[in-house]
């Protein structure tokens, strides 16, 4: 019951999903649509697990006065404020112009955009460290990256040649390598799916 039934559920639902791909008939389409909605609904319930984990961890830090507990207070404050502002006026709470959206625009959005913008710095430092002509491999990496980056720098008469070379690299050899990776991923992922469906890969189920 504890281990066999879940494996059976995995097998039946997995095989059903494979079969339904080949059957256009509406009876299968209906079950497929319900199954997809159930998955979404399970995800919504699981949200509470997440909130529970976050809240418990933060509260226990505050209670035990663990180092940095003050920051946990901030997290809890942000969480509670958002949930309160987001529900107290019913579904109008998240309309444009509410305090909920004010926080979204003036706190959430700028922090998110700035976190994202950190990448501009990191891409530069990663390039500096990684792009050294130590081996043939790293030289290829370095040279192609340079060629592609140079297309944004005015080089006078060289610009035209560089432009052509850059677009050739992007559309030809780049495409070939991506295809190889894609096909490999396809095989790896399909094999993993089969291992899951046939109950060979079951580490994710845990043990008793």
């Amino acid at each position: 019951m504890r281990r066999q039934l879940p494996i059976l559920i995995v097998f039946v639902s997995g095989i059903f999903m494979i079969i339904q791909y080949f059957i256009p008939h509406e009876s299968f389409e209906f079950i497929y649509e319900y199954a997809m909605d159930w998955i979404i609904i399970i995800g919504i319930f699981a949200m509470l697990l997440g909130l529970w984990s976050l809240t418990r961890a933060s509260v226990s830090k505050v209670q035990t006065k663990a180092p940095g507990w003050g920051y946990s207070v901030m997290t809890l404050a942000g969480l509670v404020a958002m949930i309160f502002l987001g529900v107290y006026k019913g579904n109008q709470s998240i309309a444009e112009g509410t305090s909920f959206m004010d926080i979204f625009w003036n706190i959430y959005t700028p922090i998110q955009a700035t976190m994202f913008a950190l990448l501009a710095f990191y891409i530069a430092s990663a390039a500096y460290r990684a792009f050294r002509a130590r081996t043939v491999m790293s030289t290829i990496l370095l040279v192609t990256a340079l060629v592609i980056m140079l297309r944004l720098i005015p080089l006078g008469p060289l610009s035209g040649i560089n432009q052509t070379l850059a677009s050739w690299i992007l559309t030809v050899p780049n495409m070939a390598a991506k295809r190889a990776i894609w096909i490999g991923i396809g095989l790896g992922a399909t094999a993993t799916c089969l291992k899951i469906i046939f109950g060979i890969e079951r580490a994710y189920m845990g043990k008793d």
């Binding site: 987001g86 955009a113 501009a120 891409i123 192609t144 780049n174 190889a180 899951i196």
Partner: protein
Amino acid sequence: METIGIWIAALLTLGIFSFLYKDNPFYKFCESLFVGVSAGYWFVTTFWQVFMPKLADNLVAGRFYYIIGAIFGVMMLLRLIPKIGWISRWSLALVVGTTAGLYFTRYLVSNGMVQVQYTIISLYVKGNLSQTIGNLVIVIGTFSGLIYFFFSKEHKGAFGGLAKLGIWFLMLSFGASFGYTVMSRMSLLIGRMDFLLGTWLGLIR
């Protein structure tokens, strides 16, 4: 009000940027606030935009099939009760099984068959040397790239040579993607700088 909003946004922006120098209380403050606000935002928007239309509205409309989803959802929550926590595996099994089946055909088609189909191209294009070379490179690159991903044979001899060619192709592709992405990442920083220097301080424009 708008000015206060801009000031808050600008200070938080600086707080996140300060992490580039080193971890500091200012960053920790922004980080913890961000975590709380984002978790709340995510919960609230999922509630109104997914839970209500997908479950509540359907149940109200009398589509009781959706109860099954809700039952599985509640089972998931039983994890919080250690004694019967194992029941949550049933919902997990449904999620994993369904998506494994769904992704099986999806990966097989779009990562396997479609890619192979695109790669079966003529090696000789009459009167078009550059396309002939291009097609040849694509076929050789894909072929040698796949050799690299072969697990059953050690990379030695001619086979190893092909595998090496394959990894060269991979590196070329990685370099190209890296170089190409620099522009969009710089765009993000330009956006923030424009906000700080223009919208906030009014120094530019």
